[in-house]
């Protein structure tokens, strides 16, 4: 109940969830950049990433690994999550978006298709893995590493923040330094002209979905094992919608904005919990979203559709 006394107790978890939102928000913002469309099913990419890593870890990983093996299995889990997420996002684009894109369908049609795909995916996951939360296998004992002003920082939090930062830096490099990144930026700026300049639009869009899926799936793993400790079929809903709020907060279409927005949202959300109580923590994100839309709909960093940097 006293925020200032325990500021760091709320700040560190806020930073953790925030970096998670930031990674998911990048997926929204990337797709928004190239298609001008909210990918409603991105939360399901996140969920599938969580389940994918859960299946791989529970089938392959040994009981309570320790030392170096835990590190290996954390990395394996993350890669598994990222791959399943990428696969889901790829399939999603091919099944639910590409036919509509070829037909030049109106936006409403896209959104309904997206919500249908999302509904389909999470209910299918509910059928495949049951509708109750499934616990993630434990990979190590979650001990304290060091403390910040008396607040302990756990291994998990370090892993989440560290890998999120690594992913964000990697993505920034990919988008700004590679040829594919130039293609993504070109399609985001003006798809038609990019096509005339020899950019394969279909390929770029597909790859954008894959990149978003890699990040979303890895985030699904991190969330499942680090924050909630379990995965269930609707796990994607809240983080997904909050990450979208984060993307809007930072300025949709703007990758660095999405990162900043995610971090801010996570911190604000966690700092609000001692003020209003933990059961209202989810409401905060939506209130922030509506406030941002009311007062600064272009987000903090401004919408920079195309100049995705």
């Amino acid at each position: 109940m006293n925020l200032f006394h325990n500021f760091w107790d709320y700040f560190i978890p806020g930073l953790t969830t925030g970096s998670m939102y930031a990674v998911i928000a990048i997926g929204y913002t990337l797709v928004y950049g190239v298609l001008q469309l909210i990918n409603f099913a991105h939360s399901e990419v996140f969920m599938m990433g969580g389940f994918g890593s859960l299946v791989v870890l529970s089938e392959l990983a040994p009981q309570s690994p320790h030392g170096f093996t835990s590190v290996v299995w954390v990395i394996v889990g993350m890669i598994a999550g990222a791959l399943v997420g990428a696969l889901t996002a790829f399939g999603l684009e091919k099944a639910a978006y590409k036919p509509l894109r070829k037909r030049n369908a109106p936006k409403l049609v896209f959104l309904i298709s997206a919500i249908g795909a999302s509904f389909f995916l999470y209910n299918l996951a509910g059928k495949l893995w049951g509708r109750n939360p499934v616990p993630m296998p434990e990979l190590y004992t979650n001990g304290e590493v060091f403390s910040v002003f008396g607040t302990p920082v756990k291994i998990t939090q370090l892993i989440i923040i560290g890998s999120a930062v690594a992913m964000m830096i990697g993505l920034d490099l990919v988008v700004n330094r590679t040829k594919m990144g130039a293609g993504i930026r070109a399609v985001a700026q003006d798809a038609e002209t990019a096509g005339l300049m020899g950019v394969d639009i279909d390929k770029i869009i597909s790859r954008t979905f894959i990149i978003g899926g890699l990040l979303g799936g890895a985030a699904g793993f991190l969330y499942g094992f680090g924050i909630s400790g379990q995965v269930w079929f609707t796990v994607g809903f809240l983080p997904g919608i909050k990450a979208f709020a984060a993307a809007v907060l930072g300025g949709i279409g703007n990758i660095r904005g999405a990162m900043l927005g995610g971090l801010l949202l996570g911190i604000v959300e966690n700092l609000s919990s001692p003020l209003f109580g933990t059961q209202w923590i989810d409401v905060t994100a939506f209130v922030v979203l509506i406030l941002v839309l009311m007062f600064r709909p272009t987000g903090i960093m401004g919408e920079r559709l195309g100049r995705s940097a």
Partner: protein
């Protein structure tokens, strides 16, 4: 002359360069896609997974004959699409000849007002007679699912079909309506200044929903249309969490109990609804008839035509002096209040509501009904709601109840790919969708409003 031959031989060379080997044909990619879909279909229709064994659903589906049947079906579909041109031609001819033979009847219906009226009366009579002779189970389904969702679908049609906005939090207004009924009949922890009966609470509920709709819509309708979709999703979550967490206001997750059944005491008319579902059906039917009449008038009124104008070309509409935000807000509020009406009837029928009655799933269901039936056509959305409520209940012994959501999600995607105008399309909407695909107009109100009003 020689130039053209040179050009021709050049283009032949280019074509040779471009020609793909047989294995590079796109049809093989499509075959691969169909095989993947076959696996997914096998998973969809297979046994439920066992949470303790994470791969049980996969092994169960893939080790049975089901997988091969699914694969065979989808590869067959693929073969039909790729090589089955003669078969498809026959099918198309058949369809055309059936359509042609139906055309005189259709034209008669269109031109003859009395015939249309006769048809409507017949449907109404059937709607009165048939439910009285069905089992209690079906009467219950008819009231608590079909009738309620028909009202919701008619309301959502105003938002999605006519105004071209995507509202994913429609059930939030349904919840607000239900809780308003609970509040004004004096069964919530917070007491109203005076209590009224369930039916008399309808105006209060409608006004509450109108206000909620305006409060939510006013800031967001000024923005790009797709923001509205996600904001309504968030709004639904807020309403759900408020209903769930504020114990002192809504009694939290325990819900509200003892909401009275409706009753009428006006002059000589005295009637009390009880637990029997059939009278509720007649009440719902009354509301539906009134709503259909009103909304039919609305569609062809100045307001309805304004919505059409906004949908077809928002820039042009605002250039002719239409305040697009105001009209979108109007549609949003009308839809919200319709949903509120359904909430009142539902809560007074079952007498007990808790937050779990108003989950986000229902919003997607309502959207599926509207989209399946045909956005923008009242007959279509009524048909969509009726059929898609009837189907899972009729198949309840064959298909597990939870699985219907999978099929509904797939249905939404399939409808959007192959028939976005729905089963019984509104002709105007159908034409708009086709025109939008040809690059004329929008067919929705998703563009950012032009002209000034930006916050």
């Amino acid at each position: 002359m020689s130039d053209t031959t040179a050009a021709k031989s050049f283009s032949v060379d280019v074509a040779k360069l471009r020609r793909k080997a047989w294995y590079q044909q796109p049809r093989w990619t499509r075959l691969l896609g169909m095989v993947v879909l076959g696996f997914i279909l096998a998973l969809m229709t297979g046994e439920d997974g066992n949470p303790a064994e994470r791969l049980s659903a996969f092994t169960g589906a893939f080790e049975s004959a089901r997988l091969w049947i699914c694969l065979a079906i989808l590869v067959g579909v693929w073969a039909l699409v790729e090589f089955g041109a003669p078969v498809r031609n026959v099918a198309r001819q058949g369809r055309q000849s059936v359509g042609k033979s139906l055309e005189p009847t259709r034209a008669m219906f269109r031109s003859n007002g009395w015939l249309r009226l006769g048809g409507l009366v017949l449907v109404l009579v059937l709607a009165i007679v048939i439910p009285a002779n069905t089992s209690l189970f079906w009467q219950e389904v008819l009231v608590t699912q079909m009738g309620i969702f028909m009202i919701i679908a008619v309301g959502l049609n105003v938002v999605v079909g006519w105004a071209g906005l995507l509202d994913l939090g429609f059930i939030a207004f349904y919840a607000i309506g239900a809780y308003s009924c609970a509040f004004w009949t004096g069964h919530m922890p917070v007491k109203p200044p005076f209590t009224v009966g369930a039916l008399e609470s309808i105006p209060f509920a409608i006004v509450t929903c109108l206000i909620a709709g305006v409060l939510l819509g006013a800031p967001t309708l000024r923005l790009r249309g797709d923001y509205l979709a996600i904001v309504t999703l968030g709004f639904h979550e807020i309403v759900y969490l408020v209903a769930k967490n504020s114990d002192g206001f809504t009694n939290g997750s325990r819900g509200v109990i003892g909401i009275p059944h409706p009753s009428i005491h006006i002059g000589p008319i005295n009637y009390d609804w009880t637990l029997d579902p059939l009278p509720y059906w007649y009440l719902l039917l009354f509301f539906l008839v009134v709503l259909i009449f009103l909304y039919n008038r609305l569609e062809h009124s100045r307001i309805g035509r304004t919505w059409t104008a906004i949908r077809e070309d928002e820039v042009a509409a605002s250039a002719t002096g239409i305040n697009t935000v105001r009209y979108k807000l109007l549609a949003f509020a009308i839809g919200a209040s319709t949903s509120g009406l359904a909430g009142v009837v539902y809560s007074s029928k079952v007498g007990f509501i808790n937050p779990e009655n108003f989950t986000i799933v229902l919003s997607v269901l309502a959207l599926a009904y509207v989209v399946f039936g045909g956005m923008g056509s009242i007959a279509g959305v009524l048909f969509g709601a009726a059929l898609l409520v009837w189907l899972p209940n009729a198949l309840r012994d064959i298909v597990p109840e939870q699985d219907r959501f999978i099929y509904l999600g797939a249905l939404l995607v399939i409808m959007m790919i192959f028939r976005p105008q729905g089963v019984i399309p509104s002709r105007r909407r159908q034409r708009e969708l086709h025109m939008a695909e040809a690059g004329l107009g929008d067919a929705d109100a998703m563009t950012e409003p032009t002209g000034g009003v930006k916050s």
